[in-house]
């Protein structure tokens, strides 16, 4: 049983489960962020963010989420290092027959996403938790962090918008391989359904990338 954490297939299982969890999380995150451009005032977004911050169930899921990120990253780095070591001497002529192009750059896209994630957490998450975030009080007397205005202000800085969109694009590259790869690792490979999973992965990536890039663009050009 313990080999599930240490064997090559076991490690990949952990990565794929954590990855799928993060994939679901991204959709939730996108859904909430879209509130920013769907409504004229940041109030709805702030209320949603407030709910996410205070609801006890969400707080538990949040721990799982950080655990998921951690597992996915740790196993990803271990697997990659082992993979580098498994071919100490490389080829003179690089092999170009990889059928899944983005699979070659998972560790590279991952590194970029990681840097983005750290900045992202410092900018928003930790600021709200440990810093002195801007507060706002709504008509029903509820006081909450004014995340919406913080983000809108950020999305008016051209450098920030460009960096953000670039990071999302790399996230997209990561997802293009990761989505379908997770299913294969779980042993889900089927003549008819695997092409469907692959198509779903592309659609999912398009939705996530276009959604997350549309938000800063709409706000910037508003």
């Amino acid at each position: 049983m313990s080999s599930i954490f240490t064997s090559s297939v076991g490690k990949k299982l952990m990565m794929s489960l954590a990855g799928l969890f993060l994939i679901v999380f991204l959709l939730v995150h996108l859904g909430i962020n879209l509130l920013l451009i769907l409504y004229n005032s940041p109030e709805t977004y702030n209320r949603a963010a407030h709910f996410m911050q205070t609801n006890i169930l969400i707080k538990i899921i949040e721990i799982v989420l950080f655990g998921g990120f951690f597992l996915h990253m740790i196993y990803g780095v271990i697997v990659q290092i082992e993979n580098w070591l498994s071919r100490p001497k490389g080829y003179r002529v690089a092999n170009y027959s990889q059928t899944s192009f983005f699979s070659r750059f998972m560790i590279h896209t991952a590194a970029i996403i990681f840097v983005f994630l750290v900045i992202h957490l410092l900018d928003f998450y930790f600021k709200a938790k440990f810093g002195e975030p801007k507060l706002v009080t709504y008509s029903d007397g509820k006081e909450m962090v004014d995340f919406g205005s913080m983000i809108i202000a950020k999305f008016h800085l051209p450098g920030f918008v460009i960096g953000y969109i670039l990071a999302i694009l790399f996230l997209g590259f990561h997802l293009l391989h990761g989505f379908q790869s997770a299913f294969q690792t779980l042993g889900l490979n089927h003549k008819t359904y695997t092409p469907v999973v692959k198509a779903l992965g592309i659609i999912y990536t398009l939705v996530v990338v276009s959604g997350f890039t549309a938000i800063p663009l709409v706000i910037y050009f508003d």
């Binding site: 080999s3 090559s8 070591l85 498994s86 071919r87 027959s97 899944s100 699979s103 490979n189």
Partner: protein
């Protein structure tokens, strides 16, 4: 046809190798790749030089002995064939051809283009068998087997253990090979009994020997001369989860 060959030469496992350039002239387009190397070796021997060592046996695409990483592809530029089935007409006159050995920690170079693939034998020894005496050849259909299952087992059994999957994989992973063997045996009633023990033992041995972890890039499937499909890797994973949880 004339060719410039850049071939990896390495005296033995302990020495540092290097690429040596050779020029060959007047090669027939119908010459096979290995025959072309035979011609080169002939010339080297006549000059009193050491011939290029490379693996080969059947020369008809069934034994899995031949290897060679040719211009960036295991078994050369054609799909679904072994190096012994590759012909010089596949190249253009005057081409430069770079020939390298399989590269993987688990496949150390023995000499020139020959690598030690006994790691595959060790994986088979760990569990790639059934532990009963099967006797003589049984009559057809004495054991009822679903047609689909027989087909999958047959497709998997086509693996000749050449190691091109490892050579092609950016992670030098042996998953396609192991999955072919696990699939082949676990689809058949004779192999089912030991399926759980087998998959665990073979994977453990594979990890121990220093092959990399599969990241589903699909290069193995693209380069496999027997077109073993990635679906076998998914089956291997399923068999493993079953074995661990069951």
């Amino acid at each position: 046809m004339d060719f410039t060959l850049k071939i990896w030469r390495q005296k033995d496992a302990a020495s540092r190798g290097r690429f040596v350039t050779y020029h060959l002239e007047g090669i027939s387009p119908d010459c096979s790749f290995l025959e072309m190397l035979d011609i080169l070796n002939d010339q080297l021997v006549q000059k009193g030089e050491d011939p290029v060592a490379f693996d080969h046996d059947c020369r008809e695409g069934i034994c899995g002995a031949c290897s060679l990483y040719i211009n960036g592809r295991p078994h050369g530029p054609d799909d679904a064939i072994t190096t012994c089935q590759l012909h010089m007409r596949r190249f253009r006159d005057g081409d430069t051809i770079v020939v390298e050995p399989w590269r993987a920690k688990a496949f150390p170079v023995i000499k020139d283009l020959i690598v030690d693939r006994s790691a595959f034998d060790k994986i088979i020894q760990a569990g790639g068998y059934i532990s009963v005496n099967t006797g003589g050849v049984p009559d057809a259909n004495t054991i009822p087997i679903q047609k689909e299952h027989a087909d999958i087992a047959m497709d998997a059994a086509a693996c000749i253990g050449c190691g091109a999957c490892v050579a092609a994989c950016k992670n030098a992973s042996a998953m396609l090979f192991v999955s072919a063997k696990v699939s082949h045996l676990s689809m058949l009633p004779q192999g089912k009994i030991e399926a759980a023990r087998r998959v665990k033992a073979m994977l453990e041995e594979m990890d121990r020997l220093g092959f990399g972890n599969c990241s589903n890039t699909g290069a193995c499937e693209a380069e496999c001369p027997k077109q073993i499909s990635l679906s076998h890797i998914a089956r291997l994973n399923r068999e493993y989860f079953k074995a661990i949880l069951g």
